[in-house]
């Protein structure tokens, strides 16, 4: 639980990550790369926004990157995810290239949504990525359908619906999770409890003290993870995946984390108690914790991490530059693909009195 106390003491010793893991050192290095890439991608988009190169809103996951990255890393390629605004890290793990999301952000003609929609509102079904819409909660029922199909086709897929604790208050959330429970579908709903939904603190969102308690009511397995410990996220998710894939039904996984930035760039977070953000930045940052773990466990040296950061910077700059150089959409492209245009023609502008 997030406590809104300003005079919160520092942890007795600096936090790291759990020590028991089945991840190989190679995998742990890869995890580092995804985690760092997520943070640096956010920094890059914020910069592009400040340079007025982006038209839409910019939402970041600063301070909660580990939840998406750690949980998605426990999936197989055949599994499906439906991420939300703070889960770009999960997209990367699923094989979505940064350049693709840059294309989306920049509204380029070759973006997968053809610039009809924003950010990561697109789909890549081959990589197991079902693109979300803005209406919160809606993706949970959709994922139950993905799983019904998988069951009928005997594909044994697991699906993950990511959702903020705020969005767990929607009707669609309830209907979707309940349906998955009744159907014993291998749906893992990851509730990312980051303390705030826009300006609304968790205590105004639900009266239960932990969202995982809802699992009892649905009759499904409930799990909790430290959302700022990427290894813990991975290990708990692994358990969830084993449960779901083993035919035991749906799982509700609550990950505890903290949203350090405002809802979007314009939000000045005046509603956050003084010192709270600084506390999390100083004492419970997923990146710092993982770096500490990697060094302590001799998985990576500081020099190796610096090298990764350097590589990522070059990589992300190149990805963004490439995306920026792509052509803008033509105005008329707005008219296409409402329906299959081989059956119904595009919805071009109609001239009056012609």
């Amino acid at each position: 639980m997030i406590t809104n106390t300003t005079a919160r003491p520092a942890p007795k010793k600096p936090l790291s990550c759990i020590n028991e893991t089945s991840l190989t050192k190679e995998q742990q290095r890869e995890l580092y790369r995804y985690l760092k890439m997520t943070r640096m991608f956010d920094e890059k988009t914020v910069m592009l926004k400040r340079q007025a190169k982006l038209t839409g809103g910019v939402f970041t996951s600063l301070g909660q990157e580990a939840t998406a990255v750690g949980t998605a890393y426990a999936l197989e390629p055949r599994d499906f995810i439906a991420p939300l605004i703070r889960d770009i890290g999960a997209c990367f793990v699923k094989g979505i290239e940064p350049r693709t999301i840059f294309l989306q952000y920049l509204g380029k003609g070759s973006a997968p949504s053809r610039a009809t929609d924003v950010q990561f509102h697109f789909a890549d079904l081959e990589n197991g990525f079902v693109g979300p819409i803005s209406h919160l909660g809606d993706m949970i029922p959709v994922m139950t359908g993905v799983l019904l199909a998988s069951r009928m086709k005997k594909e044994n897929r697991v699906a993950v619906a990511y959702i903020g604790e705020g969005a767990s208050s929607t009707g669609a959330f309830h209907e979707g999770v309940n349906f998955a429970a009744v159907q014993k579908l291998p749906l893992i709903t990851v509730i990312e409890n980051n303390g705030y939904a826009y300006s609304t603190p968790t205590r105004n969102q639900a009266a239960c003290s932990n969202f995982v308690e809802k699992a009892v009511g649905y009759g499904i397995k409930g799990l909790t993870a430290d959302g700022n410990d990427v290894i813990h996220c991975y290990e708990v998710m692994k358990e969830a995946v084993a449960h779901a894939r083993g035919g035991n039904g749906a799982v509700l996984l609550e990950v505890h984390t903290y949203r350090r930035k405002g809802h979007a760039e314009h939000d000045n977070q005046a509603y956050v108690p003084d010192g709270e953000i600084a506390w999390w930045a100083e004492h419970n940052d997923p990146m710092t914790r993982y770096e500490k773990y990697l060094i302590e466990n001799k998985v990576m040296s500081q020099a190796e991490m610096d090298e990764t950061v350097k590589d990522l910077k070059t990589f992300l700059d190149a990805e963004a530059d490439w995306a920026e150089s792509q052509p803008d959409p033509t105005p008329e492209s707005a008219a296409y693909e409402v329906f299959d245009n081989s059956i119904v023609p595009p919805a071009f502008k109609k001239e009056v009195l012609s």
Partner: protein, 335 residues
């Protein structure tokens, strides 16, 4: 701004006027309260209710979970009990999550003898701000075919304040659409009267007098219509009348028929997609009740039949452009 909107007259923007209207109603009538996501402590996503919580307290500025069905339903229940709730959708697009409550509960309550619902459902609507398919909705056509819901959409600061007050005092449910592009538009700054006033629901306004042709429109498109009228006057010597509907349900039939009889040529202009839009209803009214007054077919200029696309180039194509309105005006006059 963290304190009360004052009643001292100074030219302020539309968002400020809605704010003032709401503030005055809450001050005058203790049964008025606000309910919605982030409306209290944060003051609303567009800061329309900033500072209200300090004046009216948490009991009358209710921050809800992300639950539009609960917001609409609770507003209905409170309204039945004699309160006057003003419910906010963070974006009007999210009305879909409260659709059942609105169309089945709110709209039918009086008819079923179960009591009127004096509630206002308000929020930012409309496109042109690169919000993409889920933050740009013009929702009026969804509700036009639901008897029992009133709908208003102001295009001036004066009307915004007068209509929010009228909506709050109305005995029936009112959807109050606020075009987000107009919220802080300097062009709409105006000084408002100091005394209390309302703008009657169901009454249109002549935004510009003319005699050669009429543009019937509402919301942000009123500005495009006025700009087109200006240009047509300058370049073609045409005198264009602009009717701002203000109320979409009920419609001001009298004003609509009057302008038809005056200019005999009509363009209907709206920002929502063409097919199934309010323009169809307006043209049917005109065809049925003023056919013999027409010198040209009624024409509709509206957005294309697609969702609202994100990219600027595409959204500009999607919406009726100024050039398109001018061209349509020329053709209509020449017909």
């Amino acid at each position: 701004m963290s304190t009360a909107p004052k009643s001292e007259t100074k030219a302020v923007t539309m968002v400020e006027d809605i704010r003032q209207g709401l503030w005055e109603e809450m001050t005058a009538d203790e049964s008025v309260f606000v309910i919605g996501e982030d409306v209290g402590t944060y003051g609303g996503a567009f800061k329309l209710t900033e500072g209200f919580i300090d004046q009216f307290g948490v009991e009358r500025m209710i921050d809800t979970p992300i639950s539009e069905a609960a917001i609409v339903g609770a507003a209905c229940g409170a309204a039945l009990m004699g309160m006057r709730p003003v419910a906010e959708f963070q974006f009007f697009d999210f009305v879909s999550c409260g659709f059942d409550m609105l169309t089945n509960y709110a709209a039918k309550s009086r008819y079923r003898g179960c009591g009127g619902i004096p509630a206002v459902f308000r929020g930012p609507c409309g496109g042109g701000v690169r919000g993409g398919p889920f933050h740009s909705l013009n929702a009026e056509a969804f509700f036009l075919n639901t008897a029992g819901l009133k709908m208003v959409e102001p295009s001036t600061a004066y009307d915004a304040k007068g209509l929010i007050k009228a909506a709050i005092r109305d005995p029936d449910p009112v959807l109050f659409f606020e075009h987000k592009k107009l919220y802080r538009l300097p062009r709409l700054r105006e000084e408002l009267p100091e005394e209390d006033y309302i703008v009657e629901i169901g009454k249109a306004r002549t935004a510009r007098e003319g005699k050669d042709l009429s543009i019937i429109t509402f919301g942000a498109m009123v500005l495009n219509a006025l700009d087109a009228a200006e240009e047509l006057e300058k370049s073609d010597g045409l005198s264009v009348e602009v009717i701002d509907l203000r109320s979409l349900a009920p419609l001001d039939k009298e004003a609509i028929l009057e302008t038809v009889k005056k200019t005999n040529r009509v363009m209907i202009l709206h920002e929502a997609s063409l097919t199934g839009g309010i323009g169809g209803e307006l043209s049917a009214i005109i065809a049925e009740e003023a056919f013999e007054w027409l010198d040209a077919p009624v024409i509709r200029v509206a957005s294309i039949n697609t969702p609202v696309p994100f990219a600027p180039q595409m959204e500009d194509y999607y919406q009726p452009s100024l050039g398109e309105i001018i061209e349509a005006g020329r053709k209509l006059a020449a017909y």
